[in-house]
């Protein structure tokens, strides 16, 4: 693992109106690591991801301060937000299938980035659907509506879609809540493969998933960082902070 930071967050604060969701956090994410983020509900995990690719802009009452640099560029001042969003793949916890065919769902982002050749598009659609462990189930009906798939299949479709623009950073927000354990394991194996070519941010409520996959894990609580360290230390039984110990062992609160 090279140790250059790809994302550097400095004193990030986020408030929805009067309600503070993130209260000043700073950390760095290194290139090609799997970075786990854990924390109880409402701790600001999803909000943090929204700040990264600026989808926080969709919430008008959200106010952000501090800086987030991706490869040295401040995302809050970026000139090309479309390029930024293509650089960061995002998988939301509740899948939103676009009202298009399965094929068009996955081909959407490459097309927006200007890819036109059929052969290229077909290759990338197949590759992404395979990586999301969905190809075998849908290869015969790529023309049917993506919104008609089952919940778990739709979630995997959004994973394929997030991979389709070949992002450098992949953010997964509780990607496995609607996926069965066997398929989850298959996707986890794919993630271990993918980290060779991209940085992965894994937000998860399953602390064991972070333990299995993440190189380092950040424990977020009420918008503050409680602890950030190598995953084996977080789960070692004697992390620096007592709250971390209680949370990962399920005796929190």
């Amino acid at each position: 693992m090279t140790c250059t930071p790809t994302i550097a967050v400095r004193d990030l604060r986020l408030a929805y109106g009067q309600k503070e969701a993130i209260r000043g956090i700073s950390f760095e994410i290194l290139r090609n690591e799997i970075f786990g983020i854990i924390g109880p509900a409402q701790s600001g995990k999803t909000s943090l991801l929204h700040c990264l690719n600026r989808t926080i802009d969709f919430t008008p009452e959200a106010r952000v301060s501090g800086s987030i640099r991706v490869d040295g560029e401040d995302v809050r001042q970026t000139r090309n937000i479309f390029a930024l969003r293509r650089k960061i793949g995002m998988v939301a916890p509740l899948p939103v299938g676009l009202p298009l065919s399965i094929y068009d769902n996955v081909a959407f982002a490459p097309r927006c980035a200007g890819m036109r050749r059929r052969s290229e598009l077909e290759a990338i659609v197949e590759q992404c659907l395979r990586q999301a462990a969905l190809w075998d189930e849908v290869k015969d009906r790529l023309d049917s509506l993506g919104t008609k798939l089952s919940g778990g299949q739709q979630q995997r479709l959004t994973i394929a879609r997030a991979l389709s623009h070949q992002p450098e950073i992949l953010c997964l927000d509780e990607f496995s809540i609607a996926i069965d354990p066997v398929t989850t394991m298959r996707i986890e194996d794919v993630l271990k493969e993918l980290r060779r070519s991209m940085t992965i941010i894994l937000v998860t409520n399953l602390t064991q998933q972070a333990r299995r996959l993440a190189d380092r894990t950040l424990f977020l609580w009420k918008g503050r960082i409680v602890e950030l360290d190598h995953t084996d230390i977080i789960f070692s039984g004697k992390p620096a902070n007592r709250q971390t110990y209680e949370y990962v062992n399920g005796i929190f609160g």
Binding site: N53, F58, R85, V96, D104, A113
Partner: protein, 315 residues
Amino acid sequence: MNTPPTSRPAEESFAVRKATRPAWDVLSERALEILIYLCGISAIVFVLGIFFFVFKEALPILGNSHFSLTQFLFSDQWYPTSELNKRYGVFAMIAGTFSVTALAMLIAVPFGLGAAIYISEFCGGRTKETLKVVIELLAAIPSVVWGFIGLTVMSRLIVNYTGAPVGVNILNGGIILALMSVPIIVSIGEDALKAVPDSYREAGLALGATRWQLVRRVLLPAAKTGLLAAVLLGVGRGVGETMAVLMATGHAVHIPHGIFDSVRTLTANIAAELGEAPANSDHYRVLFLTGVLLFALTFIVNLAADLVVRGIRRR
């Protein structure tokens, strides 16, 4: 009956309330149901009634030996008041209706859909509210006022800028009809776009789409049925509009060869001549037959639209 005593009072009060529900309540609910049913039925009855009345007035002409249906549909000779040789051919007016409607749609559909997309996706706040109010205002202008604008303002503009000999022609009628259809297309089209959930927009933008790519690749496919309905209501307005086209198209019965030719439409013909035709004369009946023809045309347009919409839905 070994329910615990604590749950008794609740059960009893429930039973009591049910038993004392006032008879008036029950009755009025029943009456309301019947009223709504009657409203629904009457809508159908009225439409059928109108059709039968129009058809009944037209029917005798079909058995008349001087009259031929092929001549009616395919001849451009319209001489209903000739002393020697009355001829009732409405083909020129069918051509008139089609050419004016087609031109109007050519102008109104791109403008209307474009405006709907702009209002719904590209502008916000005050601009949006202002535009919506203005468009509603446009929709409320009575058609005779539009006809007047066509007859005076528009016709002068056309003569001045194109050098056409007369200003009341297909172009004038087409523009006036387009101006009348645009507000309908805009407001219904905007509703259709508004009905697309925001989550689609956010998902699309999060994948790196620009606004325009989002419109083209997500919103148009998602709202296509609603947008089609908007366009069809615009077409319906074009086919059915009478007063404005009567005033703006020149009212000349002949098959047009260009957009500067004057034409007469089916609707304008009925409006202009029904008052003069003696009741129950052949002329009178032929005008009613023209009404039946209009019915058939709108029915075909609606049916075609319905099939298209279904076709789109199935995909």
